[in-house]
């Protein structure tokens, strides 16, 4: 990404049943078909059904993974509970608001923005069509406004509604046309998007991506318990995993699901579970068992607002502490974090491979922001081959020792069905044979071994992504990365260079690698989405940082945007000069 992005940010809101999300989805598909890119979040109210919802869309000529600081356009089907959205849809005097005068007065919080208001008789236009719906009028309006071709849009409408029958398609197309041909007294405050390089595009959410990465890595057993915002990982996996010989089971609770995954992995099947904060808490004991008994598995944790039940539908990066340090005893394990929606594929796949290679659990920390958003991206690169589990076979004249002390720290692991290698896995401290032992030397040997296998492993280049260079570095992780990278790009456009380090492998800490990257950096800005500066404290705990460190830590539920980061950098630079 070398030039300034050209993007359009569009919010479509309405109360339940108004079809705002459908509009967003259709525009996202149009973008893909028109060789553009896009990113879409959804925001929903507390009501289970019939509550308000918003599609928060961003279209661009480059891949985008985060929202902009402001919206160019808000199209509101009604104003019910608009105050609940107001903070999520920042508007300014450059913005447009399209609304139907029939939906009543525009709320004060929205008017304050000074955005230009365009009144369109959406309801009237829709009701002129038999079975017409305003959201399809909106698709028409927006397609025209964005100067996207009508044929692409109508194709998408037809194929999307194919199950609803001919009549529904017909009335939707009519509505589309009404909207498309409507003369809007205003245009978007930004230049038209120019098609980027053509080519096949994917439309994928982070939760789907994590599911795909898991299957690519070799996962063939999943046990889990539904929880927002992780359920879609399971919903994507369930009908698919059975088609490649695997099994997904909805368990009675998270205690069952983590322990089922342990049992299946003990049996030689690559296993996972997926959850969010409250479920991760319940899984701690099981994850600790996997550490002690050296059972590989992955836990995809889609973080939501905490603590406790918190804000289930909104995002935060506040499960970092528990992922890193939430196990009792000395329990070294893996923690990885994908950096954007498509990276959910790669990082999850890598997590599976590492867990398998290292016989230890890996926690993949994604979040609601990545998990439940969709993006349009180029087709991701072809994955590495799944790393196969090193399965022990009997050796002549040698008694099999499951927890043998080895130089690499990795012991031979046999799986049931292998003759002459039987053993009992144990979460009690044990001798190399697996027999329980409370003797100091056995404890130390096994503790050393479990640590050593992580310390000695060659993790390679993927531990972090490094972008740019400069004396000022921004260090971040996970879903905050997208906003940081876009901020860096904007800064570069104004001639300011910053180095961006985004850590993918959070545990074990890659001390040498990071400290090498910090050579020449004299000022560090830590960016994370938590209240208690969890990432900052983690960095301090494990790495030697430059003398001057600033922290940009904001809890959810609002997304971190590029502008807030460039602003933080400007402040630093001001301070510096």
């Amino acid at each position: 990404m070398s030039t300034q992005n050209c993007t359009h940010s569009i919010a479509i809101t309405g109360s339940g049943g108004s079809g705002a999300i459908t509009v967003g989805n259709m525009l996202l598909q149009q973008a893909a078909k028109n060789s553009l890119y896009g990113f879409m979040r959804r925001s929903v109210g507390p009501q289970i059904r019939g509550g308000e919802s918003a599609a928060l869309l961003r279209l661009s000529d480059q891949p985008v993974f985060c929202p902009d600081d402001r919206f160019d356009l808000l199209i509101a089907f009604d104003w019910r509970n608009a105050d609940r959205f107001a903070l999520e849809i920042p508007l300014d005097s450059q913005s447009l608001i399209i609304t139907d005068p029939a939906s009543g007065e525009i709320p004060e919080v929205i008017q304050q923005s000074g955005a230009k208001i365009i009144e369109v008789p959406l309801k009237k236009m829709a009701s002129a069509v038999s079975g017409g719906r305003i959201n399809m009028v909106a698709v028409g309006l927006l397609t025209a406004l964005l100067k996207m071709p009508a044929e692409v849009a109508t194709d998408i409408i037809s194929s999307t509604l194919v199950k609803k029958g001919e009549e529904a398609i017909k009335s939707s197309l009519d509505c589309f046309e009404t909207g498309f041909n409507y003369e809007l007294p205003g245009k978007l405050p930004c230049p038209q998007l120019m098609a980027a390089e053509p080519g096949i595009r994917w439309n994928i959410s982070g939760n789907e991506a994590a599911g795909l990465g898991a299957l690519q890595g070799g996962v063939r057993f999943v046990a889990a318990y539904p929880i927002t915002p992780a359920t879609e990982v399971l919903e994507w996996l369930s009908p698919r995993i059975e088609k490649i010989g695997g099994t997904l089971l909805q368990a009675e609770d998270e205690l069952a699901s983590i322990n089922m995954a342990i049992g299946a992995s003990f049996g030689g099947t690559v296993s996972m579970t997926s959850t969010s904060g409250p479920g991760l808490s319940l899984m701690s004991e099981g994850i600790g068992l996997a550490v002690a008994s050296e059972i590989p598995l992955i836990v995809v944790n889609v973080t939501r607002g905490g603590p406790s039940t918190g804000i289930p539908t909104k995002s935060e990066q506040s499960d970092l502490n528990i992922a890193l340090n939430g196990l009792h005893g000395d329990a070294p394990h893996l923690v990885l974090a994908p950096q954007n929606i498509t990276d959910c594929i790669d990082t999850t796949r890598w997590a599976v491979q590492l867990a398998e290679a290292l016989q230890t659990p890996a926690i993949v920390l994604t979040d609601q922001f990545q998990g439940q958003s969709r993006c349009i991206t180029p087709v991701p690169e072809s994955p590495d081959l799944a790393m196969a589990r090193k399965v022990a076979q009997p050796e002549k004249d040698k008694v099999f020792e499951r927890y043998a002390i080895t130089e690499s720290g990795i012991s031979p692991m046999a799986i049931p069905g292998t003759a002459d290698c039987s053993y009992t896995a144990d979460g009690l401290e044990h001798k190399p044979s697996g027999q329980p032992s409370s003797i100091a030397t056995d404890h130390h040997d096994q503790l050393d071994k479990r640590q050593r296998k992580l310390d000695l492993f060659e993790f390679g280049e993927k531990w972090a992504d490094i972008h740019g260079d400069g004396q000022l570095a921004i260090i971040t992780w996970g879903s905050s990365t997208a906003a940081v990278l876009e901020a860096a790009q904007r800064l570069k456009f104004t001639g300011q260079t910053v180095k961006v380090i985004s850590i993918r492998l959070l545990a074990p800490a890659q001390v040498d690698s990071l400290e090498k990257e910090l050579i020449g950096v004299n000022r560090l800005l830590v960016v994370e989405q938590s209240h208690s500066r969890q990432f900052y404290h983690y960095l301090r705990a494990h790495y030697t940082l430059p003398d001057k460190v600033n922290v940009f830590a904001e809890p959810g539920p609002l997304a971190i945007t590029p502008g807030t980061i460039t602003h933080a950098v400007q402040l630093l630079k001001g301070e510096l000069s």
């Binding site: 009675e252 322990n259 003990f266 053993y423």
Partner: protein, 273 residues
């Protein structure tokens, strides 16, 4: 190889930590006899447990095993069975492990009806933690400092709960009757579905009065039934001290659905716009 020698071949050379006279010795030995009788290949057999004296069982076999965490024997065993249906999976543990902390998995495992066997060595006490009341302890047992006046709570009825939860094989054995127990274990392993055996297995250390069980336990006066109403009637009038097969039914077991197979690459295609 005589049958006894063969049975012994299922034992590991680790010496049990159990107290002299512990009922669990008989369970260990009955299991090896059942394995020998069924001629199971060691490597295709896995014994899974939670935590407790009784849960030490797996390491005493020469088969595969998993000594897990307290209360989670059944999920670990279920995961293994789901992933490797061809294995013979035995879940095991104590009354505290299975009915107190593990109670939820017990009722759901009964419902799910995976083809495995669950053996609970019920001594009506927490042995490993030195003698507290368990769910099956009588309400007036006051020998634990944690319940100095007794629990005051009516005991958990393992067989009745299993029945209400939908278990398809429910039996009660007694470690003082090793032959009877061996037969029940054989039947349980042969039963296609979830088989539950509550073994009355005395803890002479913390419940010395259980030495009297050998005079109290009697064979169930009925033939096994497949009628839950009959079984319930019997169980609600039983004193919990009768042994034998109580209930067996051919409820459907959980099975992997038969679906056409494809490849991960196919799923990738679905994302193409």
């Amino acid at each position: 190889m005589t049958n006894l020698a063969k049975a012994k071949s299922y034992k590991s050379d680790i010496k049990p930590i159990w107290c002299p006279g512990c009922g669990d010795f008989a369970v260990l030995s009955a299991l090896t006899k059942a394995f020998a009788f069924l001629d199971l290949a060691k490597q295709d057999l896995a014994v899974i447990s939670g935590i407790g004296c009784s849960s030490r069982l797996p390491a005493y076999f020469s088969s595969y095993g998993f000594h897990g965490i307290h209360g989670r024997a059944l999920p670990i065993a279920s995961g293994l069975k789901l992933a490797r249906p061809e294995l013979t999976v035995i879940a095991s543990g104590g009354d505290g492990d299975g009915f107190s902390i593990g109670g939820n998995h017990f009722i759901h495992a009964c419902r799910r009806n995976l083809d495995m066997t669950y053996i609970v060595m019920d001594n009506e006490v927490y042995g490993m933690t030195k003698g507290q009341a368990s769910p099956t302890t009588q309400p007036d047992w006051a020998s634990s400092k944690l319940t100095p006046h007794g629990t005051g709570v009516r005991p958990f009825q393992p067989a009745a709960i299993a029945l209400a939860s939908g278990a398809s094989f429910i039996a009660r054995a007694f470690s003082g009757d090793p032959n009877g127990m061996t037969k029940l274990i054989i039947a349980a392993i042969q039963h296609p579905g979830f088989s539950f055996i509550q073994v009355l297995s005395p803890c002479p250390t913390f419940r010395p009065e259980q030495k009297l069980w050998k005079h109290q336990v009697e064979a169930f006066p009925h033939e096994p039934t497949d009628d839950p109403v009959k079984a319930a009637t019997r169980l609600y009038t039983d004193d919990g001290m009768s042994s034998g097969l109580i209930f067996q039914s051919n409820y459907p077991t959980w099975n992997k659905p038969e679906v056409a197979q494809t490849s991960v690459k196919q799923f990738e295609e679905e994302f193409v716009v």
